[in-house]
Amino acid sequence: MVSRICCGAPLGVRAVPIVVETDVRPNLLKVSIVGLPDTAMRESKDRLIPAITNSGFALVRDDIVINLSPADLRKEGAAFDLPMAVGILCAKGIVPESRTRDYWFLGELALDGHLRPVRSVLAIAECAREQGAAGIFVPRGNGGEAALIAGLAVYEVAHLAELCRALRSREEIEPFRPPPEEDGRDESAVPDFAEVKGQAGAKRVMEIAAAGHHNVLMFGPPGSGKSMLGKRLPGVMPALNERESIEVTRILSCSGHLKNQPVPVRRRPFRAPHHTASAAAMVGGGSHPRPGEVTLAHKGVLFLDEFPEFPRIVLEVLRQPLEDGWVTISRAVQQVTFPADVLLVAAMNPCPCGWRGDPRRRCRCSLERIQQYRGRISGPLLDRIDLQVEVPAVPISRIRKLPPAEPSRVIGERVNQARARQYGRFRGGLTTNASMSAKELEEHCRLPDALSEMLEHHVERLGFTTRVHAKVLRIARTIADLDGRDAICREDLLEALSYRQLDRPIESGTLQEAEVGS
């Protein structure tokens, strides 16, 4: 007898339906799995027999052939243990197949028959609902994730024997009900801007970045607070909406990063890969493509410290996802598209020794060495970074005298108001100023002639490109939004111009030199 059991296999951050066909014939006790299983799946046959017998069912002298359909799609992981075990039990007539028809099954089996949680549950549950399944059986611990999909009954089971009892009885099985979500459960884990004293300019830039979703590059000497500022940025960004929250949870689930986190994930991701990361680690890769850092930071912050120290190829592969908000990994057998809508925050020293412009130490770098160091960041990549800001060192004596800094909550309220203005203006199309096209710039950043002339004059004087001209306009739009104004004024443009500091010649001086002079 051949049984058919439905389940799903993750593909990128989505899933595809899989049918587990099982044939049992009296002979020797032997299990064959066909249909492109990976090593973990091939080892399932060694888990299946002990798990089924330890659950109280006898398998004596049976030949079992399991086919995973479609056969040309590579499957991986141990999540197919449960559908294969149910398939065997159905084929043997121990469990009535009619009771399994409307359901999907997912889970890894221990040798004693207990079920272990698996990854990609959210994507597979979503696929099950799309395929018209009435419900899904998942291991205990995976129920919360599957229950995020409305319109799909979720059943958590701890042991294979428990599942079989439920399927063999005529009683209704009680679906899993997720516990109510706790309010503000993630807030304490995000560091607060109140802990950063001084750096008013850099904090202002962070606020503009969060309000308009503008990428940021900070440069300053070691210990000036660049990393502190970057880590606090997710705390002032608007909360994830329901759709974004599901997207982020699905990515973490498929990549195995969800672990014991409460679901859905409400906190914006923050990823800070080391500068030794490879291109595959950054954008995703592998023969069975896995998401990279740019996808793990989707809807959150990708923080790249020591920016010029990243290999050139790693920085260059970021260009396309930064532009498009997604990345496609192509392999001979399959192509997977990962979401990659991130806010990039990069940090670097102003020169190779790190001390240019710092009054505490003398910089010994020649102009050529500084140019070479900064040249590691290509022009096209720099063009994708809207805000460039100097983060000077703040003397300890001055930090002590500074009043308490503004908390993230207060900054976040201003950011939310600015975002609300953008949502209202774009009416469901675009969401942020950073993604405005040339046409939208024309419509939403119209300037009086005098201001247009002033901007053009300074853009030409400073040797900025047309792309930078558009960026200055986008930043000015966000600054006006933060101020609650429809019209962009002269001060907005001048402030926006001041945040393109790396586009200027190196000889033009640093903020600290200007400060010493004043």
């Binding site: 008013a200 300019g201 004087r461 001048l494 001086g509 030199e513």
Partner: protein, 56 residues
């Protein structure tokens, strides 16, 4: 109220952004070369509007 304040030093005028309640400049905005003929201008500090009307 944001202000934009420029000073003459070492042959160039550096304009900086100043934010309310913050001591000192927070970002360099534009650097202008000093007057070509004179070694040092008569005025050494400007607000943006003053400088736009009468640079040197």
């Amino acid at each position: 109220m944001r202000t934009f304040h420029g000073i003459y030093q070492d042959g160039v005028v550096t304009f900086c952004l100043h934010l309310p309640d913050v001591v000192g400049p927070v970002a360099v905005i534009v650097v202008f070369p000093g007057p070509e003929d004179e070694p040092e201008p008569e005025v050494l500090a400007w607000d943006w509007e003053e400088f736009e009307e009468n640079p040197f």
